[in-house]
Amino acid sequence: MSSIVSVKNLRKAYAGGFEALKSVDLEIEEGEILALLGPNGAGKTTLISTICGITTATSGKIEVGGHDTVTDFRAARNLIGLVPQEINLEPFETVINTVRFSRGLFGKPQDDAYLEKVLDQLSLSDKKDAKIMMLSGGMKRRVLIAKALSHEPRVLFLDEPTAGVDVELRKDMWDVVAGLKANGVTIILTTHYIEEAEAIADRVGVISKGEILVVQDKAEMMAQMGKKQLRVDLSEPVGEVPAALAGYALERSEDGLSLTYSYDTRGERTGIRTLLNDLSEAGLKMVDLQTQQSSLEDIFVGMVKENV
């Protein structure tokens, strides 16, 4: 797969000296859904805004569809649709007019049939002629998506699309995203909900303090997240793991007083029951059992340490 968005060495420092992005590199593949996870203030919105042209980069290079976003901004921006985090809409305009405006702004000829199809996909058909101020918050968010889709972009940026949205609408939004992906649209969404990334993303990127810590395939990441450990404390130290227990790949602590077993919680069988049986059959006396699951944060911190 080829990169449709390529960010190289991107740095953004604001006038006050605050460094929102520190040398970010990111390759986004055509047709994928990439979720950018990160705490508030991590630089998610700055990254998106810089790619879309709302903020200017301090240094670095961004290409969208092979077009430089500064020197060839028209070709680059033609490919991009942006759904901002804040609900920024002209309150007195009608839905259809504001969507028409967006399409025109991108230089596309008027095509109401297409726009009505977009509105229909977003369940906005019956609100077509309603003034935006009459719509609910969820509806307004859909209008923002309709505006971003009005010019048929190939890359769609969704900045916190489900922040403050109820469960039902969140599911609807996920369906819309899935439908867009089926049409070949590349989607980048920011979120701080891990479940959201899990539900729809192909790859997950983690951003913190202006740096991308990791970009990884979701399945791989979830596999790591799904790992759990069981520590068995023994009454007497063992010199080495008994041969009968070799199949469990147990880790022995230095003092020999505990054995640790790693297992996958998502597997059909965790193997805990047989392990406990085999442990007593091997004549080991257990005094305590502890299970531990590494949090997403633990994984990320571990990854960063490895990278250094």
Binding site: T55, E90, L105
Partner: protein, 253 residues
């Protein structure tokens, strides 16, 4: 050139104008009619002719200029300030449009609105006073150029303004006094010599003088100077806008 984008911005802005058509048109027409009643009929009848023109007719070009300048400025400043205020500016900044296209769209719409108002006031003037237009084409050209120049100025104010108060500040504190003191209601020659000299620093004098020349064939300053003044004003505004978009001042962080 993204012509479709220019058209979209223009259309979107004009829709705002037609949505508030009553407020947009009735208020300038009403206030101008009041000027005609007060200055033209009530007081004007006691004032002798100015440069061979009855006072009622003499103030018509000034009144039109007064409305056109304030309307063009406020329309354009509001037009670009509003998207900044409600946040929809993100769309302009992320669209494949350059500064010239954005400016033509917003300034074009604001100038059109001001032109509409100017022409309606002129039509209203025909009801109250007997006027003849000596150079109709020059009159129209002056009107259009003034609409565009002040819309450019308004556009800059709209980008500069950080709140609604600042948005009103320059029109209120600078433009209105300059227009009132720029000879809207009197001929410069009616002033004492020292004030005549000071007045020459007021750019609006040249615009009103040129516009009045188009009506009556006489002017306070030469028509060439008037043309030069308005061209210079427009060039300064365009340069400022070009600089604003190049640096992203007050728009792009």
């Amino acid at each position: 050139m993204n012509l479709t984008a220019i058209k979209s911005i223009y259309k979107f802005e004009m829709q705002r104008f037609f949505r508030t058509i009553t407020q947009s048109l009735v208020s300038p027409v009403l206030s101008t009619s009041l000027y005609f009643v007060v200055f033209g009929a009530a007081i004007g009848s006691r004032i002798q002719e100015v440069e061979g023109v009855s006072y009622g007719a003499f103030i018509v070009p000034g009144l039109i200029m007064l409305s056109v300048m304030t309307q063009a400025t406020s329309n354009a400043s509001f037009g670009i300030y509003f998207p900044k205020f409600i946040g929809t500016i993100y769309e302009l900044l992320s669209a494949p449009v350059n500064f010239l296209e954005i400016t033509i769209g917003y300034v074009g719409a604001a100038a059109t609105k001001a032109l509409f108002i100017g022409l309606i006031i002129l039509a209203t003037a025909f009801i109250f006073v007997d006027i003849q237009i000596a150079h109709p084409i020059a009159m129209l050209a002056f009107l259009v150029t003034t609409c565009v120049s002040f819309a450019l100025l308004g556009f800059i104010i709209g980008i500069w303004a950080g709140n609604f108060e600042q948005l009103q500040l320059i029109p209120l504190l600078i433009i209105t006094p300059l227009v009132f003191l720029g000879g809207s209601f009197y001929s410069i020659t009616m002033l004492p010599p020292i004030w005549q000299s000071i007045t020459m620093f007021n750019p609006v004098v040249y615009l009103i003088s040129g516009f009045r020349w188009a009506f009556f064939g006489t002017a306070d300053v030469s028509i060439g100077l008037s043309l030069f003044a308005i061209s210079l004003f427009m060039a300064i505004c365009l340069t400022a806008i070009w600089w604003i978009f190049r640096t992203g001042w007050r728009i792009r962080q």
